[in-house]
């Protein structure tokens, strides 16, 4: 068992020795499409993103911090919810170095938090809550222009612990690579 784990780790790490690491930081936009309270319908929500990427091609590792906000009411009951999401991704480019725009597939884990302010007439409730874990897979493509300008586009399928169905997301990212 232990030998297998060592072999597995070696397989993962070995290619890193052959490549030059790159760092990228940037911003992105995440458009999530998830089930409505009536699960027969979908609703969308946009999130802004900051990210940092450490790439030893064909592998890259990504850290994201996302923020999105919703506002709504029913009569004098209103809810303003700020959602913070953090995710860590491992991604692999099977055709790295062969194509100008390099496709990748990835898997990520993360967590979500909510800062919710609710009002009901003169009554008010505010607090942080745990939005639960997230497991996701993604597929997309990345390219670097003028040596430093990193552009990525990605489709995701995410399972949120607090929701029964999967959420789809489309992301655009751009950053500076050094």
């Amino acid at each position: 068992m232990r030998k297998s784990l060592v072999a597995l780790l070696f397989l993962l790490v070995a290619p890193l020795a052959y490549a030059t690491p790159e760092m990228t930081i940037g911003t992105g936009l995440d458009a999530r499409i998830g089930r409505d309270v009536n699960p027969d319908y979908y609703s969308s929500q946009a999130f802004g993103q900051l990210y940092g990427e450490y790439a030893i091609h064909p592998w890259s590792f990504l850290m994201e911090l996302e923020f999105g906000q919703t506002n709504g009411n029913n009569g004098n009951y209103s809810v303003k919810n700020s959602t913070y999401t953090t995710m860590a991704w491992a991604r692999y480019e099977p055709w790295y170095g062969q194509l100008r725009i390099s496709p990748f597939a990835g898997a990520g884990l993360g967590w979500q938090f909510h800062d919710t302010e609710s009002k009901f007439g003169s009554a008010r409730d505010e607090g942080w809550s745990d939005g639960g874990g997230i497991a996701a897979i993604s597929g997309g493509a990345m390219a670097t222009f003028f040596k430093h300008w990193n552009v990525e586009s990605e489709l995701r399928l995410a399972k949120f612990q607090m929701q029964s169905d999967v959420t789809f997301a489309f992301l655009l990212r751009t950053g500076y690579t050094f």
């Binding site: 009569g75 909510h114 919710t116 609710s118 409730d125 809550s129 497991a135 399972k159 607090m162």
Partner: protein
């Protein structure tokens, strides 16, 4: 071995890790949610807005509003038989062991379920065994959009009797007031319609023979004897529903917080006289020749009288006020061995539901509905009560001009 690493093995490992993570996240969704506690908007016993932590014990899952008390749909379709589609799934965050709705739609469907769970246990405790004819879970649709319905349907709630008994809570557009989904008086009113339907209206043989014309006519001017029967049943149903809403919410002003003082039907005031049978049918002489021009030219007083005469809610409100007065003075008979453990509102609710079966039996014997008096329900519910002089005087105010002596004249009805 390094050759083998080339293109597929490492992604395969990545996939395996992902599948394991997805399984972990999926399987742990319902953690600590067997008896979830939610923080929801709540109108307290004093009619004040607050947030209250409510533990729901009849739900199967914290994440789906489907349980022994109710099945809640959000913006559902209706196929004429029942709501179709998926059951509402609220969006939640968790603070310790407490679930917080993260959007108003989620808070609304949870609060709606919470009301029906409250009624599920309330009626088990308060109603006498065998008195309730309704089934659980209740089927409820909560709407936030007016797609496929008229804007006139907004800011309202409805009970649809056949075939399943559906409760609809329509979109609420007044941003300054409490939405109907949080108003236990309004929801109690609609819930009562289910009792009236199952204990009285659907059991009457005469109802089954009614035509679409009769039903349509009963909503406006009751042009036929059948329509007049339906009109009377609707008046009584609406009045008793107002009273039941006040009893279960213990808030006689429950309508004001959602509709405002100008549109609410106040209950905690003395009743006005019921419309007489002649007034209820007066429209028959006017409507056949009534044109838009004639309606516009009609003096305001005459128009108001006409509208009032055919509005079941306004007529029913007089029955509700009489009911409220008796309940508030705690003068309904205390039924059941445990009556002393209930408060006056609960004893009144018990009495009201208990009498519905007898009301149906009494109505079944009526063959001449065309000559039925609207005051009949007042007599049925109050004539055998041992009322104080003060309460009797209030109740008597609800009788129509045909019965100036009020309860004392009930022997003739």
């Amino acid at each position: 071995m390094l050759k083998f690493r080339s293109r597929f093995l490492q992604p395969a490992i990545l996939c395996l890790a992902t599948l394991a993570s997805l399984s972990l996240v999926s399987c742990t969704q319902d953690r600590d949610s067997s008896t979830p506690t939610y923080r929801i908007p709540y109108i307290d016993e004093n009619g004040q807005n607050t947030f209250r932590d409510i533990t729901l014990t009849t739900l199967g899952s914290a994440f789906e509003m489907n349980g022994r008390a109710a099945i809640i749909y959000f913006n559902p379709s209706n196929n004429g038989q029942t709501f179709t589609g998926a059951i509402a799934q609220p969006h939640l965050g968790k603070s310790g062991s407490l679930f917080r709705p993260i959007d108003p739609q989620s808070g609304t469907v949870i609060a709606t379920y919470a009301f029906f769970e409250k009624m599920f246990f309330y009626e088990k405790k308060v109603l006498l065994a065998g008195d309730s004819q309704i089934s659980w879970p209740r089927i409820v649709g909560v709407y936030s959009s007016v797609d496929k319905m008229s804007p006139n349907d907004e800011n309202n709630a409805a009970y649809i009797p056949m075939p399943q008994g559906l409760t609809e809570i329509m979109p609420f557009t007044d941003n300054g007031r409490d939405a109907l989904a949080f108003n236990h008086g309004v929801l109690g009113h609609e819930h009562f319609h289910a009792h009236f339907d199952m204990s009285v209206q659907s059991k009457l043989a005469s109802i089954k023979s009614m035509s679409e014309v009769d039903i349509a006519s009963s909503r406006g001017c009751p042009a036929t004897a059948n329509a007049y029967e339906l009109k009377l049943l609707t008046i009584w149903n609406e009045g008793l529903a107002d009273a039941y809403g006040a009893m279960v919410s213990e808030q006689p002003t429950f309508m004001t917080v959602s509709f405002g003082p100008e549109a609410a039907r106040p209950i905690a005031i003395d009743p006005l006289p019921f419309q007489s049978a002649a007034t209820l049918k007066k429209c028959r002489a006017i409507f056949p020749t009534l044109t838009k021009e004639k309606l516009q030219a009609m003096p305001k007083d005459q128009l108001n009288e006409l509208v009032t005469s055919i509005d079941p809610h306004l007529n029913g409100a007089q029955l509700a006020r009489a009911m409220f007065a008796v309940a508030n003075h705690d003068e309904f008979p205390a039924l059941g061995a445990d009556a002393a453990t209930l408060n006056k509102w609960q004893r009144s609710a018990r009495y009201l539901i208990h009498r519905l079966k007898d009301f149906k039996t009494a109505l079944e014997k009526k063959t001449d509905w065309e000559n039925m008096q609207p005051d009949y329900a007042l007599c049925f519910f109050f004539k055998d009560l041992n009322l104080s002089a003060e309460t009797k005087a209030i109740v008597n105010k609800a009788f129509s001009s045909d019965y100036p002596d009020g309860v004392a004249q009930c022997g003739s009805l």
